[in-house]
């Protein structure tokens, strides 16, 4: 029968499969190329302060992209991560600044709102059978509206909540802002979830062949809800980090962040058709987006052209990935 592909390198690392390593190599290669390019192009680029800036700029979008990766693994899409994140930060503001709840409760509350958003998305997708695009588009609008309504269209400040700003702004590890640390920890959690838990396994399975998964006796609808809830938790986390970094909940922000998150996921080599997903890829994808923007800014390239460049990179990254897979669009 088939010559067994020499079973080398047993898969033990988080979120990595044999096949996926190649994929990440590609994305990683891209990141290195971009990095080297800017390092040569500008003497100010390669500098820890700047790298720290890039990492900080990656954190919020990156955390959102982690959750989005899980949803995209099922062949779905989540458009509600951007404004959902905003709603989570506003609710965190309500819990902490308005209601004066303890810090831990407020933060967990923010995460819970994310889970609630995911729950509604999941129910709409799994039980009402709405296409994920529609269900999460609706949620995107609902979350945006609710953020404005709940906050009374005013930012909620955390000035009177001691310690909240330190959550993302402090440095538990000297030199590394907590926001970045949280992002990395979240990435590891997401990686484990994707590769080592039923949630991740069934997400890939559903994305690979939903009908076969159902016939194999997996309760596809229930697991879809679980997957969206887990993704929602990451949205919640992004909201809390965002709020902490700005020390305020800005109800007007968020729209458009979902597309950046999706772009990061796609650049990382996760297939929008589902079945193939990698967390490390998503992390690299998010880094590529942030690095590109940062580098172009350092070179004083106008914002208009920065967007053009990012668009081109998305096309290149996804096309290269398709070429590598060698078939099908």
């Amino acid at each position: 029968m088939t010559t067994s592909s020499t079973a080398t390198a047993p898969r033990r690392a988080t979120g990595l499969g044999n096949r996926q390593q190649l994929q990440q190599l590609l994305a990683f290669g891209g990141l290195v190329v971009i990095f080297v390019f800017f390092s040569v192009a500008s003497p100010y680029f390669l500098d820890w302060a700047n790298v720290k800036g890039i990492l900080l700029a990656t954190a919020v979008t990156g955390i959102m992209a982690l959750g989005a990766t899980l949803v995209i693994a099922t062949g779905g899409i989540d458009l509600s991560v951007g404004t959902g994140m905003t709603l989570c930060s506003v609710m965190t503001g309500v819990f902490l600044a308005n209601l004066g709840l303890p810090l831990v409760v407020g933060v967990l509350g923010g995460l819970a709102i994310g889970a609630l958003i995911g729950l509604l998305n999941g129910l709409n997708v799994a039980y009402l059978r709405l296409p994920p695009f529609i269900a999460t588009l609706a949620m995107m609008m609902v979350a945006q509206g609710l953020s404005l309504v709940i906050s009374g269209t005013k930012p909620i400040y955390f000035s009177d909540v001691p310690g909240f700003g330190q959550l993302a702004g402090g440095e538990l590890l000297p030199g590394l802002p907590n926001a970045v640390l949280i992002f990395f920890v979240a990435a590891v959690l997401a990686g484990v979830t994707l590769s080592k838990t039923l949630t991740g396994r069934y997400a890939l399975s559903i994305g690979s062949n939903e009908e076969a998964t159902a016939i194999s006796g997996v309760d596809v609808r229930r697991w879809k809800v679980v997957i969206y809830v887990v993704a929602g938790l990451f949205t919640g986390l992004a909201g809390v980090v965002m709020a902490s970094r700005l020390n305020s909940a800005q109800p007007g922000l968020g729209l458009g962040y979902e597309l950046e998150a999706i772009a990061a996921v796609v650049i990382g080599g996760t297939s929008l058709r589902g079945g193939k997903a990698t967390i490390l890829g998503t992390v690299i994808g998010a880094l590529i987006m942030a690095t590109l923007t940062n580098g172009l800014r350092i070179m004083s390239i106008p914002q208009e052209w920065q967007k053009v460049a990012v668009g081109i990179v998305i096309v290149l990254a996804v096309y290269a990935d398709m070429l590598r897979r060698g078939k099908e669009a």
């Binding site: 609710l146 269209t153 400040y157 007007g252 800014r297």
Partner: protein
């Protein structure tokens, strides 16, 4: 699929709907604001279409407008798009406002060119238009109530020049497509060019007034120009982003930050010494004057073609003065 019976699906619909309703109810409770339907009663009706809504500045304009409405006994509605880039959405709002046949319209154009057809439309319907915040390239508006942004940003430049003396500075702008956005950069650069030959503006980046993105942009500029001595942020979001960037790079106190508008984050930054000072418009006066001008036009009175709604420079020393505190919003 034989898996989902209609009944079960119905139950799912009900469940989802009720959770959504719950969330909505929760939201409604915590907001507590409700508006009366416009166009009722015999009072003159003035519809205001602003550039934004959730932003504090526009809320202050709304407050001024509401004050005037109460004082002059007219009915005022106030709406605006969520972000200041949604030109198309604003035009739809303007169209809807026109369709309600108000006695006058107050309009702050996000894109002056784009709104010209609707200005003509308003004229043909005989609805007077009062432009506020920024002008419209049209002779339809009977008057324009606005901050003189060129003068205001020149004032910012003057303080920047005094504080920095000489060296490199940069600008983080919020919008390169609106007149306001352009003038806030233009007035600044012009003043520097004419009055401060020792100061060089090395970069101007735009970040849509988004705090995070403005912070990223400011950091990149600081990175590219390590000897940078000052940054000017052209609106609230930009300015807060710049402060954030300076703070996160651990260079607080080394750079002179000058902002625009107010908001709690900005006033806090000034109190904490992170920001040297900022220009504030007088949004309350702007809203007030807009409605006042509208009422004057409705009553057939003459109005000046331009009404200056004023601006102030504020810093640590005068931030708590009564005159200043009145126009600063949180």
């Amino acid at each position: 699929m034989n898996s989902s019976t209609p009944r079960r699906r119905l139950a799912a619909v009900a469940a989802t709907a009720s959770v959504t309703a719950l969330v909505l109810a929760l939201g409604a409770c915590s907001s507590g604001s409700g508006g009366a339907a416009p166009g009722t009663g015999d009072k003159p009706y003035v519809a205001l279409v602003s550039k934004g809504f959730q932003h504090q500045f526009w809320q202050a304009v709304k407050q001024g407008a509401d004050d005037a409405a109460a004082e002059l006994d007219v009915e005022v509605t106030f709406e605006g798009p969520e972000t200041e880039t949604e030109v198309e959405k604003q035009l739809t709002m303007l169209q809807t406002a026109l369709d309600k046949s108000p006695d006058a319209i107050g309009y702050a154009a996000l894109d002056s060119e784009a709104s010209i057809p609707m200005m003509t439309d308003a004229q043909s319907r005989g609805i007077p238009v009062i432009a506020f915040d920024s002008g419209v390239d049209s002779d339809v508006p009977v008057t324009t109530v606005s901050t003189d942004n060129l003068a205001a940003s020149a004032e910012a430049a003057k303080h920047m020049a005094e504080l920095v003396g000489s060296g490199k500075i940069a600008i983080v702008g919020h919008d390169q497509t609106s007149q306001t956005g352009q003038q806030r950069v233009e007035g600044f650069t012009q003043y520097i060019a004419e009055n401060a030959p020792d100061i060089e503006i090395v970069d101007t980046q735009y970040a849509a007034g988004d705090q995070l993105k403005s912070a990223d942009a400011a950091k990149a500029i600081m990175q590219a120009h390590p000897d940078l001595k000052g940054i000017y942020g052209t609106n609230e979001g930009s300015a807060i982003g710049v402060v954030k960037a300076v703070q996160e790079s651990g260079r607080a106190g080394e750079l002179t930050v000058i902002g625009f508008d107010s908001g709690k984050a900005q006033t806090d930054a000034i109190r904490d010494g992170l920001m040297a000072g900022a220009i504030t418009q007088d949004p309350i006066k702007m809203g007030y004057e807009t409605v006042k001008a509208a009422v004057a036009v409705i009553d057939g009175e003459e109005v000046e073609p331009v009404v200056d709604s004023g601006f102030y420079w504020y810093d640590e020393t005068n931030i708590d003065d009564e005159e200043i505190a009145a126009v600063l919003y949180e």
